[in-house]
């Protein structure tokens, strides 16, 4: 059994002004998994919350998702993209969507990196996503953006590390 804390907060960011993106950098490689939890909305309209790792802006990202809009369920995917879609974010100054992103075995340098995401906001969508970053580099930074829109004031983003035995 691992000694000490197993589920640790690494860093948190709370926006006091609008921002196009949020970045967590210098992520230590000492954990087993990362979890990114976000409570956020944008100032434009329903669009995809997106991730990039380690400053990689090449077409190394893809995702498969299932989502519901209150009347139907749909599954689609994106391939060979410059960022990873991990859920749908809505536009509001008061209704924030919730995103929980699991980045498992992020520090392993053998496999590509997989992300599992749960997300939703009540007046819009609920989504489940599996994402892929085609790189076997350890994740050392994560950038989150809202596909060209700005995150609103009060948005919070917290990165946790989980340490296995």
């Amino acid at each position: 059994m691992a000694a000490g804390p197993t589920y640790e907060p690494i860093a948190t960011q709370t926006l006091s002004s609008i921002a196009a993106s949020v970045t967590f950098s210098s992520i230590p490689g000492t954990y087993t998994d990362l979890i990114l939890v976000a409570s956020t909305a944008n100032n434009s309209g329903a669009t995809n919350l997106r991730l990039q790792f380690n400053g990689d802006t090449a077409t190394n990202y893809s995702s498969t998702r299932i989502y519901g809009d209150g009347s139907s369920a749909t599954s689609d995917r994106t391939s060979t993209a410059v960022s990873m879609s991990v859920g749908i974010i809505g536009a509001s100054s008061t209704e924030f969507g919730v995103f929980t992103l699991q980045i498992q075995n992020y520090a392993n340098t053998t496999t590509y990196q997989t992300v599992l995401a749960r997300a939703g906001y009540a007046s819009g969508y609920v989504t489940l996503t599996a994402g892929l970053w085609q790189s076997n580099a350890a994740v050392t930074s994560v950038l989150v953006n809202s596909s060209g829109a700005d995150f609103v004031v009060g948005s919070t983003f917290t990165l946790y590390g989980i340490l296995a035995a």
Binding site: T12, S63, T64, I66, N105, T114, R118, L132, N136
Partner: protein, 186 residues
């Protein structure tokens, strides 16, 4: 503080209370493994969580399923419901009287590229007044293929869970598949 809902954070992370503990881990070596076992699970936690990445050794063009069986019970005492998206359609399915609980998919293919990720929650695993319920989120993407699933499972047995066997159907788990069991205190 609730160990699940009360997770807190700040820019100066304090030492978090040990309410979420690592129990055991298992990583598949060269040659693969048909199953992974966690045994002698202490009953001192409130909930269990399994976190894993997996891949199938199958070279065929179909995914392998991952299942779990508790306390060596191979009877028809399991049931499940699932929601699945494969990038083209959203489907739902269910099964009763199964000999294990379905928890996800492992992608096929011989290379060490896309592994599935999964988080499986088993609530009140030591409560002897309840049948056992699990929830699993599992998925993978292969840049042009993939699937995401959410399912609930039932073990019709009120015994405390003291062991579990996670099995890859049809083809073994590939090398580098990795499984970690955590206990969450109440």
């Amino acid at each position: 503080m609730s160990p699940i809902l009360g997770i807190y954070a700040s820019s100066k992370p304090p030492a978090a209370p040990n309410s979420y503990e690592s129990i055991a881990t298992s990583t598949v070596g060269v040659g693969g493994a048909a199953s992974v076992t966690f045994s002698s699970i202490p009953s001192t936690y409130q909930h269990l969580q399994i976190r894993y990445i997996s891949k199938s050794t199958s070279a065929f063009t179909s995914d392998a399923f991952s299942t779990v069986r508790f306390n060596g019970d191979s009877g028809s005492n399991y049931a499940m419901h699932a929601l699945l998206g494969d990038g083209g359609s959203a489907t739902s399915f269910a099964a009763t009287s199964q000999t294990n609980a379905w928890i996800g998919l492992s992608p096929y293919g011989p290379s060490v590229t896309a592994f599935s990720g999964a988080v499986v929650d088993i609530l009140d695993y030591a409560n002897v007044n309840k049948n056992k319920t699990l929830r699993s989120l599992c998925g993978y993407d292969k840049n042009g293929g993939g699937a995401i699933t959410l399912n609930s499972g039932l073990w019709i047995n009120t015994s405390a869970i003291s062991s579990m066997v996670i099995t890859a159907t049809s083809f073994p788990f590939a090398e580098y598949s990795s499984f970690a069991l955590y206990g969450i205190k109440g």
